[in-house]
């Protein structure tokens, strides 16, 4: 299969799922202070003590 055709095939498979992500209202997902993947997730989005 040609590269462009493969790319289209993948996009056809993935894009409908990605549409839900593209449609989110960023206001419902405010900036969080704690997106460090090397630290435990925290139950509060309040600024953590070591970053206050």
């Amino acid at each position: 299969m040609a590269a462009d055709d493969l790319l289209n095939l993948i996009a056809t498979s993935f894009e409908p799922v990605m549409a839900a992500l593209d449609a989110i209202d960023l206001a419902e997902f405010p900036l969080e202070p704690d997106l460090d993947p090397g630290r435990a997730p925290r139950p509060s989005n309040a600024t953590s003590p070591d970053r206050a």
């Binding site: 590269a3 493969l6 992500l21 090397g38 997730p41």
Partner: protein, 443 residues
Amino acid sequence: MSAHPQDLPLREQARALASGELSAGELLDATLVRIEARNPALNAIAATFPDESRAMVAAAPEGPLAGVPVTVKDMFSLPWRGYRNGTPRELNPPGASGAFRRLRDAGAVIVGVDNQHELGLGTTGLVSAHGPSGNPWNPAHCAGGSSGGSAAAVGGRMVGGSIGSDSGGSMRLPAGWSGVVGLKFTFGAIPYDGYSGANSTLSAPGVFGRDSADARLMAEAMLARSLPAGDGAALRIGVVRSPFWSDIDAEVEAACAGAIAASGWVVEDLDLPYAELAAPAGGVRASVELTAAVPREVLPDLDDLTQGMIAYSARVPALRLLRADRVRARMRREMALAFDRVDVLAWPSNPAPAPPIANPVLHLPSGPALPDMANLRQAVIGNLAGVPGISVPVGRHSTGLPIGLQLLGRWGEEAPLLDAAAHLEDVSNRAWVDALPAVAGAS
């Protein structure tokens, strides 16, 4: 000792070696013979290296795995072989990766490198420089991915334990399909040097075993700490119906629900707001992170589908990645809130049993579906949050293929997951972990 030593659990192999009933050299030779006999059907192990394995036997220190053969996914560099990540070429120089050092220091003998889905970019194990891995319960079906070879090597009784890696379910998904216990560690739980997952904020190594006790022994060696057994009957379990119990094969759903009912656990229904966005958010992050570090000069050597995935990932809009990270932050917080209320979250590892290699389509209540997105939906929230997760065999589908239940735990708390798995094994009278797969009749 009359039985083939690879029919013994990993812990029994270790005990027999420690007591002198079995020598490490004999065990290695018997393991290589077993691999030679069974691997052609499963294509689970991509390479063996008897000379280097014998050198590890000779140099093995005292340790919990002294002299015990294990295999390692092709994402970890060894002193004699850099990781290839399922591609035809070394992508990293040979060296003693963090995973290698943990195994070596525990006395383990690395007997082979496991086949895997190329670059970890799929959940079937179909795309690999070595060809697809077969399922121990029916080699015409997928072993899973991306750590399918590692799961099939253990499920096919070629080794008692193996090391895998999980960036979007790549341990829990093949464990579910291949009928073994697969434990993904907390993000960052071992040194990441010499590990392809060092390029990803989603990736975590982990261990496969035939049951929870073998997985615990492997995990203690890899984590270099004790994971003392606790009371797996006394856990609070959170069940998140949507999206994780939706659009699931009816037999898979019944087996997983039955296992939870039989456990006697205190069960609480929970909502995880926006959890349906985990799959697209995780999919975006995973595709970008897993492909960004691939050297451009390697691209022509890769499978056409992998090249297509890399091209697709390179076109991800920045705004979509930003949205994915906002969702991820929210998911991490919602998961932490959930673990304030329960000890473990539970849902099916896979939405349907392993599909045929020749026609890799899942048959879901909503209709036929390609496996990757459906599998990702079940698993990647654990990677977004970085928490540990496990898949435990809990049943058999009418197709004869295994069914797994997935459990997620708190950050850094692998032991309660193993306790929960042990309890599930007890209440099922070990029916699913002691059953012999089809390939075991081959030799």
